[in-house]
């Protein structure tokens, strides 16, 4: 019975990771051997006691519906509260879908007005971590904030190429602003695009935005109005992995091969829930050789795997070698195939003896259903 309503906004622009999001929203991009990106945000919310969550969606509903179903895996199949997916409205007399997520918000205004909690937590689905939102809410209430921006403090940020272009929070003349990281600062507060707001403030911003009709995106609407409200930041102390590009996706994936990091990510403030797939345990044959890798259930491993992540129901044939790669579910790596620095999507067939070499700086993405024989 948390006093916080979760709102996960999937209506933001997502085209910077296009290879993996052709047929799925960023939210359902597979991650960490058996999860989808959204599992982390959803589970963090559930583990923080949030029992009512709204999901703003704009398109590509099918993959999301498939993954979430009635919401049982997150215990969100509830009579009251639980998970509510907010679709854009399509009136028969209006055949235009407007740009941005604001139109979706507009067509669900009655839902937002009916929220019973006093505060909302607005997030996206592409910041991976194991976060307890309770202390942030406590601070938000204690400080009497209208808006609390959740941040990560970054030191020696000038060398972090991967954080270029991301949102940073700055305080000038007593008021906060959010802008782009252009790499000029060494120490800064990264916005993780999570905001705790009074419900009344959220509703007011939404109403103003719709009435004024200037902004198309919720995030911009909030940023534009920061100076109107009592704003503060709350620094999240645990590690967060942003997923904004293929490069970030690849690096984040390999980060979880560190057992200590995995211990944090999968257990810190509660488990990460995902759709049950009911695959049996993974069978290793006598000739297999696996090192420093995360392997999901349902696989048969006959070859060599190194510094890689293997999703469910993958078959790695005798003599095959998979290094520094990520292989999604239901893929077949035939005998003597050799992969290095690859991201292999679902239902791919790699024929015997095939050699595919990407680069650590630009992993080779093999798209869903491809057959390389």
């Amino acid at each position: 019975m948390s006093n916080l309503q979760g709102i996960i906004n999937l209506g933001e622009r997502e085209d910077y990771i296009r290879e993996l999001t052709m047929n799925r929203p960023l939210a359902t991009v597979p991650f960490a051997g058996r999860y989808r990106l959204i599992d982390f945000t959803l589970s963090n919310m559930v583990n923080s006691g949030i029992d009512s969550i709204s999901l703003i969606v704009k398109n590509k509903f099918h993959s999301l519906n498939d993954h979430i179903g009635p919401g049982k895996d997150w215990d969100l199949d509830r009579k009251t509260g639980g998970l509510r997916i907010l679709y854009p409205d399509m009136q028969p007399d209006s055949n235009l879908i407007s740009i941005g997520d604001i139109p979706v918000v507009r067509s669900n205004l009655s839902h937002f007005a009916s929220i019973k909690k006093d505060h909302i937590l607005l997030t996206r689905s592409n910041y991976i971590g194991n976060i307890d939102f309770v202390p942030a809410l406590d601070a938000h209430i204690k400080e009497g904030n209208d808006i609390t921006i959740l941040t990560r403090h970054i030191q020696q940020g000038r060398v972090r190429v991967d954080l270029l272009g991301m949102d940073i929070v700055q305080k000038r003349n007593g008021s906060y602003s959010i802008g782009r990281n252009l790499g000029n600062q060494n120490n800064f507060d990264l916005s993780i695009e999570m905001y705790i707001m009074k419900k009344s403030v959220f509703l007011r911003i939404v109403h103003e935005t719709i009435e004024e009709g200037v902004e198309a995106f919720l995030k911009k609407a909030i940023i534009a109005r920061l100076s109107d409200y009592k704003v503060n930041t709350y620094t999240i102390s645990v590690d967060i992995l942003p997923i904004h590009s293929i490069q970030q996706y690849y690096n984040a994936s390999l980060t979880i091969l560190d057992p200590e990091y995995a211990q944090y990510l999968f257990y810190n403030n509660g488990k990460i829930y995902t759709k049950a797939k009911d695959a049996p345990s993974t069978l290793y044959s006598s000739g297999s050789d696996v090192n420093h890798s995360l392997i999901a259930n349902g696989c048969v491993i006959e070859g060599t795997v190194e510094n890689s992540i293997i999703f469910r129901d993958v078959h790695i044939g005798r003599g095959a070698v998979v290094r520094n790669s990520i292989v999604f579910q239901d893929t077949q790596i035939s005998s003597r195939a050799n992969l290095n620095y690859c991201i292999v999507d679902k239902f791919v067939h790699i024929g015997s003896g095939k050699v595919l070499m990407g680069d650590g700086g630009l992993p080779y993405v093999i798209s869903k259903g491809a057959s390389i024989r």
Binding site: D278, S281, S285, V290
Partner: protein
Amino acid sequence: MIYSKVVAMILAGGQGSRLKNLTKKTAKPAVHFGGKYRIIDFTLSNCANSGIYSVGILTQYQPLALNTHIGTGVPWDLDRRSGGVEILPPYMSTEGGRWYAGTANAIYENIDFIDLHDPEYVLILSGDHIYKMDYRKMISFHHETKADVTVSVIEVPWEEASRFGILNTKDDNVIYEFDEKPAEPKNNLASMGIYVFNWKLLRRYLREDHKNKDSSHDFGADIIPTILSDGHRMMAYRFSGYWKDVGTVESYWEAHMDLLDPNNELRLYDEEWKIYTKNLDVPPHYISYDGNVENSLLNEGCEVYGLVKNSILSTSSVVEEGAVVEDSILLPYATVGKGAVLKKSIVLSRHKVAEGEVLGSEDEITLVGAYDMGIL
């Protein structure tokens, strides 16, 4: 639509004391199996995959792990508005409380429950066998042969037949005699303890059996022989495939070793007949730089820093640096400490083998750990 007229009753009340510490604090059907499952998952998944959605589970002995495991029945899609899975423990009536006195008595005490569903057929199942079976085929067989009772049988080697309840049949699979552990078997068709009954007939025999003070209230010993001697039509349904009663520590260990054969008959990887179990929400398993795994089965959540050979590692078990695990089974959350060496051992759940400890031998199976609460 005949499957909607079936209620399955799973006998899950027994301790299975020959499994020793594995069942000291939990009922046998809740014992872990195959890295990921509990024994009852096989029977429950068979029900779900056969489209039988009204299932009663008869419990009596230490049911907490079983109850927690089954929950509302979500993993088997048995969380239904009507029907679904229901746990049926003993209860008190105005005449006082009665524990279940035998397999038939357990069903007798739940006649009201079965009547609620008003079924045509009742399928009696045991919750402690490892097998995959499409009960629809058996029920269709029962229906088509106009049987009153159908008993599922499996061919066993002739030399072992005297260890089983043997059903003697005519050419057309009509059973004319039941031999419990015959010294000189006339047949090698062993009863699997799986029965289809016409409910009206069974209800009548259960009531009569309840009044009979000489009865042990057991299906095999009392109900089946009585129905047979009364001349009802009893058919033998021949099952072929993997079927194992994991009633002893030895057979439990053997059944695990069977899983290491990639061509084993149980075919766990078959997408068309999945075995469902409670999802424990742990990440994929991790094998470290120095970890080494050979001819083994690993489940989610495991971490391997040592050597694992011909073994089964259940959910979130850990093999630390320098440890060697051979021909062994680690149950969930078991840990093998640094440099420890295990041979032909079963480590109970949550037990930690101390650093450097050396356990087990080629000659017999060693159970490691005090007892298994079995709750995860």
